[in-house]
Symmetry: C2
């Protein structure tokens, strides 16, 4: 009898502990979701267009063609996809892109996926919009290397098939083949390039789409303070920050050159070593890292950034967890990115 009683009591105790533990886990999970929702937002389903460049199907179709249009460049060898190949998440896997006739670009090419959600383009924020980024590239000696906008426009005008496409994309305009419209069309295409991930499902519905390790990583990410800069819908991409708050970044990254960052744009002392905080969406797919692509591995990038920004030395285990969380930010490439346009012949 006594033994039976003890067994019963033990059973009930074990059962209660199990329930308590389970609800604890659930409470923990709920708390993580609550915190995450304060800090991050799911990716919106539409990328907003500026007033003077509303998106239309005709503009997106044309923009996609121009994105792949090498004949827009002085050498005939450069297009947007040179630095932003879609097969590798619209980034090019090398420290610094190779542009006009082999010229090495000054900084690492950021992906164009989700780029239109950012507050500004490029590492130093010197391209306020997608339109501006595309437009300036037409003349950049590292990119399309046209001597003038006239030259760029004439390249497109020389291809008969483009006339009708520009008329459809910019109806009512007498001479629609302009550098501004080239940039507008390319930007309209780029605004179709967003890729939500499992993390968005988690944020939206708390669905059990993240693994335990990913959730642990999210927790460490929040605890460590990473979200001070990497927050919002893009997990970054919305502010400028000094790279190397605690220690100079180049001592940790081993950068060959010291880039002055936004200082070179504004000449304000406050802007020395200031860079745009990159979005961490698809970061696991877009090595190498930082403005100069000086770091190949994501785990090393995580270690360095905690060190130079916050003076924190993360354990191997925590680094590994954070990397797992960052993998949950990898989205699927949109179909629009994985199909190619057919371009009109040169004559």
């Amino acid at each position: 009898m006594k033994i039976k009683k003890i067994l019963w009591i033990s059973f009930v105790f074990v059962l209660l502990s199990f329930i308590a533990a389970a609800s604890g886990v659930s409470q923990e999970s709920d708390e993580l979701l609550r915190q995450a929702r304060v800090v991050f937002q799911p990716l919106p389903s539409v990328m907003p267009s500026p007033k003077d460049n509303p998106s239309t199907p005709a503009k997106v179709t044309l923009g996609k063609m121009l994105f792949y249009e090498r004949r827009l460049s002085a050498s005939g060898g450069i297009s947007c996809q040179t630095c932003h190949p879609m097969s590798t998440y619209a980034a090019d896997c090398i420290p610094k892109s190779i542009g006009h006739l082999g010229k090495i670009n000054p900084r690492n090419a950021p992906t164009v996926l989700n780029a239109g959600f950012q507050f500004s383009q490029h590492w130093r924020g010197d391209r306020p919009s997608l339109e501006d980024q595309a437009d300036v590239s037409l003349l950049s000696p590292f990119a399309y290397a046209n001597v003038s906008y006239d030259e760029a426009q004439n390249r497109i005008k020389s291809i008969p098939g483009y006339w009708e496409l520009f008329q459809k994309a910019f109806p009512g305009e007498k001479e629609p083949i302009t550098h501004d419209n080239i940039a507008r069309a390319i930007s309209a295409f780029e605004r179709t390039l967003f890729s939500s991930s499992r993390f968005d499902q988690f944020l939206a519905s708390g669905e059990k789409v993240l693994t335990d390790k990913e959730k642990k990583g999210l927790n460490v990410f929040l605890d460590t303070g990473c979200a001070a800069c990497h927050n919002g819908a893009l997990v970054g991409g919305m502010t400028f920050q000094k790279f190397g708050v605690v220690t100079p970044y180049w001592k940790a990254t081993g950068s060959q050159e010291i880039d002055q960052g936004r200082f070179d744009v504004t000449k304000r002392e406050d802007d020395r070593y200031i860079f745009k905080v990159p979005s961490l969406r698809n970061v696991a797919m877009t090595a190498p890292y930082f403005h100069d692509g000086s770091v190949n591995r994501l785990d090393r990038a995580v270690k360095i950034i905690a060190e130079v920004q916050m003076g924190k030395m993360l354990s191997e285990e925590n680094i590994s967890s954070i990397v797992s969380f960052l993998v949950s930010l990898t989205g699927n490439l949109p179909e629009e990115a994985l199909t190619l346009p057919v371009l009109p012949p040169s004559q």
Copy 2:
């Protein structure tokens, strides 16, 4: 009565003339089809593979990835698509491709569409097979610029995602990541790249898919003697010929340099100015023309080739007809060519 009789006779006469004319046209058309069938063949529906490289879906999948894989190159900026972008019919719209760090290739890049049907690759026929072409490119200083095959292989081995893909594509091999297998996989993908055209429908069934002008062009093409070299399923691509039989080619094309052609490969005097006869399939989409891309327009290329090969001065009208016929050789790009693979991340 008399008038009625005259009217009747006139009516019968007109009717008979009409029937005779129509049957004449039809006979003419039949005769053209008969002649065309003697000289050309429709594009086969399967591109034959060599015995040591049978195509499999796993190999094609891997090969397509490697076709876009820039990390296979010394600079990280070159892939097969650098010279063979699919959006412009797998040719690159410039006289000579821009390769490793801006290096200009010695000759115009031929399209890879239908290339596996050819008897040999490249303008001088110095690449006997697709496999050989891909393999040699890995070390070419103008292309991938790897110092050794080991270097090329190690680049792929450093990307974890490729290990399983090579095992699937080359089952049973202990170390499948070899330069030979890289070339085999790329070739297997390239063997999916064929594009038949309206001309094939015409050849196969005599269907009324060619316009009168295109048929006239075909007639002029045959009458002029173009089919002496441009025949078979590829309308060329199966023989070597001297470029400039009657007059030196460079006097007509305005070529900046005199390319000795196959002579530089074999050192045989007979091979001076000898080049592979290019396939004319998709020729309207793949300007500029000739081995050095020295001629931008198809009508000018037609004029020149008739002149320097056969000493014939074609009329504007005949040139225009031939160009129309050549447009009927433009195929649709296969779906396989217009979709992009997703490549594994670097780490």
